[in-house]
């Protein structure tokens, strides 16, 4: 996985770019997409168990799949008044997560994108999971997008 900062910034940049054309990607909805971009990493709960010497990875690994992310997004969206809209935004958010993770490479396997229908792993193998360059690039993109979109808003006023 790229780090959470990369995931959140990627979701932000995407929403701000989409927001130029589609009004629904306002700041409130962008935040939901950013939250959604972290949903697949509920699997990292396993790290907490690691601290207590309990190995749960075999049980929770499937939570880093689109199928499980759909379930989590559904549950989280129930915590909102506009659950349908929030659900769709969360789905967009976790899709951005898998888009970034899809770039990564491991010695074998990859993401279980079609789980539970298939255990095949998919990966492009373009970056390593500890690669900070993608975070750096996204930080620069965030600053540029923020400057451009805020400038447009100020111009409209």
């Amino acid at each position: 996985m790229p780090d959470w900062l990369a995931h959140v910034l990627f979701a932000y940049v995407l929403c701000k770019v989409l927001g130029i054309r589609f009004k629904m990607f306002n700041n409130e909805n962008t935040v939901i997409v950013m939250v959604g971009s972290l949903i697949p990493d509920v699997v990292k709960v396993g790290s907490i168990f690691d601290l207590f010497g309990i190995d749960v990875w075999d049980y929770i690994y499937p939570s880093h799949t689109p199928a499980c992310s759909l379930l989590v997004a559904g549950l989280v969206s129930l915590l909102f008044y506009e659950s349908a809209v929030v659900f769709l935004l969360l789905v967009l958010g976790f899709t951005t997560h898998y888009m970034l993770d899809f770039l990564m490479g491991h010695v074998s396997g990859g993401m279980l994108l079609l789980f539970p229908f298939s255990w095949d792993g998919y990966q492009l193998g373009l970056i390593q999971c500890d690669d900070y360059m993608i975070t750096l690039i996204l930080m620069i993109m965030t600053v540029v997008v923020y400057a451009v979109t805020n400038d447009e808003i100020n111009t409209q006023r």
Partner: protein
């Protein structure tokens, strides 16, 4: 051919040893490779495993500092998301649901 992931715990003249953490079934494997690794580095290996020794065909090394920097960068994201979220959304304790702030 197997794929394993572990932490480098020791080096030898013809390779290095990794600890594969798997709860009570943790195991130490010798990796026959002249790759330059340090203790604490994490490695992913695809190779042929024979008698607790693996001959790698493909290795990815995550340096110790680089691996932990992932967690630092991830930790930075948490307060940002929490702050921005509560800037635009608030929790309605009566209905136990989130709603948009009116004057966000």
């Amino acid at each position: 051919m197997v794929s394993i992931y572990g932490i480098v715990i020791n080096k030898s003249c013809d390779g290095f040893y990794i600890l594969i953490e798997h709860g009570p079934k943790s195991k130490i494997i010798k990796v026959l490779s002249n790759l330059d690794v340090d203790n604490g580095d994490r490695v992913e290996i695809l190779g042929v495993l024979q008698k607790d020794e693996i001959t790698p065909e493909k290795i990815i090394v995550y340096k110790k500092w680089s691996y932990y920097s992932i967690f630092i960068r991830s930790a930075i994201a948490i307060p940002i998301v929490v702050y921005v979220f509560f800037k635009y959304w608030t929790f309605d304790f009566k209905e136990m649901k989130f709603r948009r702030r009116k004057n966000a």
